[in-house]
C-alpha cells in the first residue's frame, strides 16, 4: 500500500516538475519571442519599392525606428526627403536604403528619378 503511495507521489512530483519545467521553458520562449516582437515593432520597419510605388505609401512608426526601403522594381529608384532630411543614392533592383527616425514628425519623400512616386513616414 505504502509503495503504491510513494510510487504515485514520485510520479506525481515528476509530472509536476516536468510540467513546471515545460511551462518555464515555454514562458522563456514566449518572453524571448515577445521581446523580439517588441523590439521589431519599436526599432525596424520596411517599405517595399515596386511597380513605381512605395508600399505602404504612408508608414507610421515610433520614434527611434529604422526604416529600410528595398527596391524590388526592375528599374532604379531613389528615396529623397522633400524637406532635405534624408537622401539615398540611386538604388537598383534589390538594393536597400535605411534611415533612423529619431524625432517625431511627418516626413514626406519621393523618388528623385520619378518624382510622381511619393510616400510619407509618420513618426509618433
Amino acid at each position: 500500500m505504502r509503495s503504491w503511495w510513494v510510487g504515485n507521489l514520485a510520479a506525481a512530483v515528476m509530472i509536476a516538475m516536468l510540467f513546471f519545467a515545460g511551462s518555464m521553458r515555454v514562458r522563456a520562449e514566449n518572453d524571448g519571442v515577445n521581446n523580439h516582437n517588441d523590439q521589431a515593432a519599436a526599432t525596424a520597419a520596411d517599405v517595399r519599392i515596386d511597380n513605381f510605388s512605395f508600399a505602404p505609401q504612408t508608414l507610421t512608426v515610433a520614434a527611434g525606428t529604422t526604416v529600410t526601403w528595398t527596391n524590388r522594381d526592375d528599374i532604379p529608384h531613389s528615396v529623397v526627403s522633400t524637406d532635405g532630411v534624408f537622401k539615398s543614392k540611386v538604388r537598383d533592383t534589390d538594393e536597400k536604403f535605411s534611415y533612423t527616425f529619431a524625432k517625431a514628425g511627418v516626413y514626406p519623400y519621393y523618388c528623385s528619378i520619378h518624382p510622381k512616386m511619393t510616400g510619407k513616414v509618420v513618426v509618433q
Binding site: 513605381f52 529623397v80 543614392k89 514626406p108 519621393y110
Partner: protein
C-alpha cells in the same frame, strides 16, 4: 517591308492628296514606324516621297535633301533585365543601321538616358559604340538616368564642355538652329520634368534676334508636351519655352524618355518622341506603371528604333522618319 504594306501606304497617300489635308489620318500614317516614307508638310499639304532603299531623295526636282541627322534615344547602358539583357548589342544594331543608310546623316542627336545608372563605365561603353558610327559628331542632352547622385556633375564633365552651366546649349547647322535643353534636374516631388528660370531666360535670349524663317529644332529628354502627366510624361514649365519660338515658321521638338513614338502637330510646331534602343515601355494607361515592357525576344527589335530627320532645301518643315531595329 512587305509589298502589301507598301501598297496600302501608297493608297493612303492617294487618299490624302485627293481629299486634301486630313490631319488625323495623316498622323496615323506618321505613326506607322518603319514605313520607309519621308513625309513632309509643304504649305500645309502632306507630300510623300518613297524611300527606295531607306534614304531620302526628292523626286519633284526641288534639288534633293539639304541634310539629314539621326536621333537615337534611351540607350540605358547598364540595364540588363527582361525584355533586353544586352542593351549594348541593340545599340550596336542601331549604329549599324545608321551606317547602312544610303544618305549618311551629318550628325547624331542622343536625347538622353545614355546610361542606366550614371556610371562612368556605362557612359564609356556608349561612347565606344558610337565611335563606330560613320557620322562623327554626336550631340547629347541628359536623361534623368544620367544625372543620378551628383546632380549631373559627371555628365557635364563628359558632355557639357561647350554647354552652359546647366548643360543646355544651341548651335547652327546649314541654316537650321538647334537648341538642346535639360529638363531632368531639380525635379520636384509629385512633379514633371522641369526647365527652370535660368534656362528659360537663356533660351529667350538665344532665339530673340533670329529670323523667323529659320527652322528651329529643340531637343530634350522628357517630352515638352503633356503626353501623360499621371506617369510624369510632361514638362511643367515648357509653355514658356514654346512661347518664345511661337513666331518661327518651322519648329520641330524631338524628345525621348517614353520609349515609343508619339507625335503631335500644333500650328507650326511638330512634336515627336523617339523609340529607345534598349527597351520598350507601355502605352499610356495600358499598364499600372511606365516600366520596361516585357515582350518575347523575337519581338524586341521591332519595338526599338532610330529616327531620321531630313531637311529639304526650300521647304519649311523637316521630315521625320522612324524605323525599327528589326
Amino acid at each position: 517591308m512587305s509589298d502589301i504594306r507598301q501598297d496600302v501606304i501608297h493608297q493612303k497617300v492617294q487618299d490624302l492628296n485627293d481629299d486634301g489635308v486630313d490631319r488625323r489620318r495623316f498622323l496615323k500614317c506618321m505613326a506607322w514606324a518603319g514605313a520607309g516614307l519621308v513625309w513632309t508638310m509643304s504649305g500645309g499639304v502632306p507630300v510623300s516621297r518613297a524611300i527606295a532603299t531607306g534614304g531620302g531623295h526628292a523626286r519633284d526636282g526641288s534639288g534633293g535633301g539639304d541634310f539629314s541627322f539621326v536621333q537615337i534615344s534611351d540607350s540605358h547602358m547598364g540595364f540588363n533585365k527582361p525584355a533586353n539583357p544586352d542593351v549594348a548589342a541593340t545599340l550596336q544594331v542601331a549604329v549599324d543601321k545608321i551606317n547602312g543608310l544610303p544618305n549618311q546623316p551629318d550628325f547624331l542627336l542622343h536625347t538622353g538616358d545614355i546610361s542606366h545608372l550614371s556610371r562612368a563605365e556605362q557612359f564609356d561603353t556608349v561612347d565606344q559604340i558610337l565611335k563606330g558610327a560613320k557620322a562623327k559628331d554626336v550631340f547629347f542632352v541628359p536623361g534623368e538616368h544620367d544625372v543620378l547622385d551628383d546632380n549631373g556633375k559627371s555628365y557635364l564633365e563628359r558632355y557639357g564642355k561647350d554647354a552652359r552651366r546647366g548643360g543646355w546649349y544651341s548651335f547652327d547647322h546649314k541654316g537650321v538652329h538647334f537648341i538642346g535643353l535639360v529638363n531632368v534636374v531639380d525635379l520636384k516631388a509629385g512633379g514633371l520634368g522641369s526647365l527652370g528660370g535660368e534656362q528659360l531666360k537663356w533660351m529667350e535670349k538665344d532665339v530673340k534676334h533670329r529670323k523667323h524663317s529659320t527652322p528651329i529644332v529643340i531637343f530634350a529628354h522628357i517630352p515638352l508636351w503633356s503626353v501623360y502627366p499621371e506617369w510624369g510624361w510632361g514638362t511643367e514649365d515648357s509653355a514658356q519655352a514654346l512661347a518664345c519660338v511661337k513666331k518661327f515658321g518651322s519648329v520641330t521638338v524631338l524628345n525621348g524618355h517614353i520609349h515609343q513614338i508619339m507625335q503631335k502637330v500644333e500650328g507650326n510646331v511638330t512634336f515627336h518622341t523617339a523609340m529607345s534602343t534598349a527597351f520598350p515601355q507601355p502605352q499610356p494607361g495600358k499598364s499600372d506603371s511606365p516600366g520596361p515592357m516585357k515582350v518575347p525576344a523575337e519581338q524586341l527589335r521591332s519595338l526599338l528604333g532610330i529616327t531620321q530627320v531630313n531637311t529639304i532645301r526650300g521647304k519649311h518643315a523637316l521630315a521625320v522618319v522612324d524605323s525599327t531595329l528589326g
